[in-house]
């Protein structure tokens, strides 16, 4: 037998004094790490397939379990880290491309954490959100400012299609297929209750969820799965997916084993076939082609729905955004290199794209320099982790943010980053019926609503501290931001001053 060069990444630590051999962990673990050994009369673990999803730890009734990083160590090397060596072993064994899930975990700078917010003192009063109105309602879409007045002095103006958000936070694209039906239901119901939107991703829309259409953004991606007239008509907006932060320049691949009856119907492809989204849209090879697709989708939906174009944050994102702002699209969504994914080639995820903070700052500035910021709303995601990130994003110039990883966390995801295996123990990134039913939408949607309400409350507190009582006065208000520990170049790109200046 060939030698397995791979060491388990984790170690299962079980406290024998606490374990009552109830075998919950055994039943809960889809990776089959735990089992009961009758000869020994105790629970044992095979750690090779443990992904540290924390399901067993969370459900163990006696708190007998701990998952820790495996302490076994290769000889230390500043250049050849254990992870890189492991990857070499893996590829030498498989001959394949390395796959990963969720966002880029590497220790690149997180600019959100290097930006500080302002607050009012003396010259300008802070405002208490518990006593005064504090507004976070946001409109997305083109803002045509021309107006005229008829002979009776009545204002005459044109209205462009728009999205109306009660909070400046939406749930970004996650397809039915990459996540479970229960996860989709959770997103849809939370969006409805919150007065915001969720996004179908590229997998079409399940018939059961048409009733949430008013809070749904219908995505059109390169594979065009599940795209037909009724689908487009059902949503509140249409999103053309040109790219994704986790894998810019790469398409998608949902393996046939995940294409069950329901997904096959929703995606409109035969059961068991691989669903492959090509890297480019084969009808879009340039900006003028994009314009045609934007306009065709508008035409198909009677010019009533705003069209979003989603791109990954790449080096020349500002120029691309400027093109999109002139393409007829109403909203641009930019996804940073830390954005999540159900599966992506590891090398792409970890090495392609740029931070959303820098992309946002340069896009917003570029659109203003060109005088076309009004043509389009800017939505950013990948990754927005908390309400302070939202406030900083809006102050840098975003109209709203997309969150996905945080939304999954609210449902129970523990960021084990193994969505690609299809064995999500939390019932999120899986289609296995026994796992899917672990996610109860009735409970999960309330947790998601709680999360966004909590953030909204915090956003209002921070705005009030700055003396701002409406989110629109925060938008692009970079004077409210200061950098900490950043170089002049970084400050220039972000368009902010350093703390103390």
């Amino acid at each position: 037998m060939a030698i397995n060069y791979l060491n388990p990444l984790f170690e299962v630590v079980r406290n024998p004094d606490r374990c009552i051999k109830c075998r919950v962990c055994e039943r809960q673990c889809a990776n089959e790490v735990h089992h009961y050994d009758p000869d020994l009369d105790r629970m044992v673990a095979d750690e090779t397939s443990c992904v540290d999803c924390q399901r067993c730890v969370t459900l163990c009734p006696t708190r007998a379990l701990k998952i820790r990083p495996n302490e076994n160590q290769f000889r230390e090397n500043g250049n050849w880290s254990q992870q890189i060596m492991d990857e070499v072993y893996k590829q030498a064994g498989s001959g394949g491309v390395l796959l990963s899930a969720m966002g880029n975990p590497r220790e690149y700078p997180v600019y959100w954490d290097k930006i500080l917010l302002n607050a009012s003192q003396v010259t300008n009063p802070p405002i208490d959100p518990l006593r005064e109105p504090m507004e976070t309602k946001t409109f997305l879409g083109k803002k045509d400012q021309s107006i005229h007045y008829d002979e009776n002095g009545k204002a005459v103006y044109e209205k462009n299609p728009y999205l109306e958000l009660d909070v400046p936070i939406m749930f970004s694209a996650m397809s039915f297929g990459s996540i479970s039906k229960n996860a989709h239901e959770t997103l849809a119901r939370a969006a409805q209750e919150l007065g915001t939107y969720y996004n179908t991703g590229e997998g079409g829309l399940h018939k059961d969820f048409y009733k949430y259409g008013a809070n749904t953004i219908c995505q059109v991606a390169s594979g065009r799965f599940g795209v037909f007239k009724e689908y487009l008509d059902t949503g509140a907006a249409i999103e053309i997916k040109m790219g994704q932060g986790a894998k810019p320049g790469i398409g998608g691949h949902l393996p046939g084993m995940k294409i069950n009856e329901e997904i096959s119907k929703t995606r409109m492809i035969p059961k068991g076939t691989d669903a492959i989204s090509p890297a480019p849209h084969h009808d879009i090879y340039s900006i003028e082609d994009l314009r045609q697709l934007v306009l065709s989708l508008k035409e198909a939906t009677n010019w009533e729905k705003p069209v979003i174009v989603k791109i990954a944050a790449v080096h020349n994102v500002a120029a691309i955004a400027s093109g999109i702002a002139r393409s007829g699209a109403d909203i641009i969504a930019i996804d940073g290199y830390r954005g999540g994914t159900g599966a992506a080639p590891t090398r792409i995820r970890d090495n392609v794209g740029i931070p959303i903070e820098l992309a946002l700052a340069s896009v917003d500035q570029r659109l203003r320099d060109e005088g076309i910021r009004n043509n389009i709303s800017v939505v950013v995601g990948g990754s927005v982790r908390c309400s302070a990130d939202v406030v900083k994003a809006v102050a840098l110039g975003a109209d709203a943010v997309y969150i996905a990883t945080a939304a999954l966390l609210a449902m129970g995801c523990h960021l084990c980053r193994s969505c690609n295996t299809g064995k999500c123990n939390w019932g999120i990134a899986t289609q296995r019926a026994d796992l899917v039913k672990r996610l109860n939408p009735d409970i999960a949607y309330k947790r998601l609503v709680n999360l966004v309400h909590a953030w909204d409350h915090e956003i209002k507190e921070m705005m009030g501290g700055m003396g701002i009582n409406s989110i629109e006065s925060l938008r692009g208000n970079r004077l409210m931001l200061r950098g900490i520990g950043l170089t002049q170049k970084e400050l220039d790109i972000l368009g902010i001053m350093h703390a103390g200046e």
Binding site: S120, P125, K137, G141, S146, I468, S470, L474
Partner: protein, 363 residues
């Protein structure tokens, strides 16, 4: 070294006051000087200024440029620019009176000009946009020159000092106007640059403002898309540009301008107080003009070619009182200053936040 206005943003508290006579009767400038003197404690001697309307009847069809120069070179450069773009009907130094509390004065000049027709045609702009662009250009491009007043039949007079001293310095008792506004400044720090005093003016729009707006950079970065340059980094400057943009360039009446910059809260819009048609309009305004909403405390008095508008922020975080006596309407930070101008007014009230008082000349 302390940075001057425009190099850094300087927060300030203030006093403002103003009045208008509806029938166009002109009142001597000394009246407005007295009104601000009684609010002495709201200023700290680091800036004061006035705007008078109807003060140049003999040149009422020319644009009156008031300019500060740091040096004669700046003046020569600016005059060359003015000569290239305008027909100068009259020029002189603005008459002043030496005052012990007013020092370090720049050169202060006044020009009555008409746009050169050929240049105007070449520019393909309407006349007022042409003039506004020229003024913005001088202020942005010529070092040491600053046009601080550029309207017709009106003028701004401002300096570093207490406003009552500034009034004496400029000999305002020699001018009569149908409307006057005044500003006394309480900046937290400033090396004292004359251009930084208020009112701020563009064409015949002038703004005196008390407050510190928290939406400043959101407003600035937005309005700069439309050819404005916020060189002074002051609230007044950006508010003036916003009003110029909405009122002059988009043609929005001032009632609606107020609904944009001090938009009603959503709770009010949805309260059933407004007609469905009005709700529709307010929603549209809050959507498309969202970046022009002004938050944070402010009370302003806007002067324009045939009237004034007074407006408070929507939470009314700054004091402002209004009063009426016959055909004159007064507005001020404090009632006492109104009483100095008119001891027994017919009516005195405190306008609600976000509700503009707009008074125009009777036709």
């Amino acid at each position: 070294m302390l940075k001057k206005e425009g190099e850094t943003r300087i927060p300030a508290g203030c006093a403002i006051s103003g009045f208008i006579n509806r029938s166009g009767r002109r009142t001597n400038g000394s009246v407005i000087v007295n009104s601000i003197a009684c609010m002495h404690d709201r200023s700290n001697g680091l800036g004061g200024g006035y705007a008078g309307y109807g003060i140049y009847p003999e040149y009422k069809d020319q644009y009156a440029f008031h300019v500060f120069y740091d040096s004669n070179e700046a003046r020569i450069k600016t005059e060359a620019f003015i000569d290239r773009h305008f027909d100068v009907i009259n020029l002189s130094r603005i008459p002043t009176r030496k005052h012990p509390n007013i020092t370090d004065e720049p050169l202060i000049w006044r020009y009555f000009v008409n746009p050169l027709p050929t240049k105007l045609q070449e520019s393909q702009l309407d006349e007022r946009t042409y003039v506004a662009r020229c003024v913005i250009k001088i202020n942005d491009k010529i070092d040491g020159a600053y046009v601080f007043s550029s309207g017709k039949n009106m003028g701004v007079f401002k300096a570093v000092g207490y406003p009552e001293d500034v009034g004496e310095f400029y000999r305002l008792d020699e001018y009569d106007g149908w409307a006057w506004t005044v500003h006394g400044r309480y900046p937290t720090n400033t090396p004292g640059w004359w251009g930084g005093a208020h009112p701020f003016a563009l064409l015949d729009y002038t703004i005196v403002h008390n407050g510190e707006i928290s939406s400043y950079d959101a407003n600035r970065r937005f309005i700069e898309m439309f050819g404005y340059k916020c060189n002074l980094l002051t609230d007044t400057e950006v508010i003036t540009y916003i009003i110029d943009y909405l009122n002059r360039r988009l043609g929005m009446p001032l009632e609606d301008v107020a609904k944009v910059i001090a938009a009603p809260f959503w709770s009010e819009i949805d309260s059933g107080r407004f007609s469905p048609e009005e709700v529709e309009k307010l929603r549209h305004f809050r959507n498309v003009y969202s970046s022009l909403l002004i938050t944070g405390p402010f009370s302003i008095i806007l002067g324009f070619n045939n009237g004034i508008m007074a407006l408070n922020d929507r939470l009314k975080l700054r004091s402002m009182v209004a009063a009426e006596k016959g055909d004159t309407v007064y507005v001020s930070s404090e009632e006492c200053s109104i009483r100095t101008m008119s001891p027994d007014v017919d009516r005195i009230w405190s306008p609600r936040g976000g509700e503009p008082i707009i008074v125009t000349l009777d036709k």
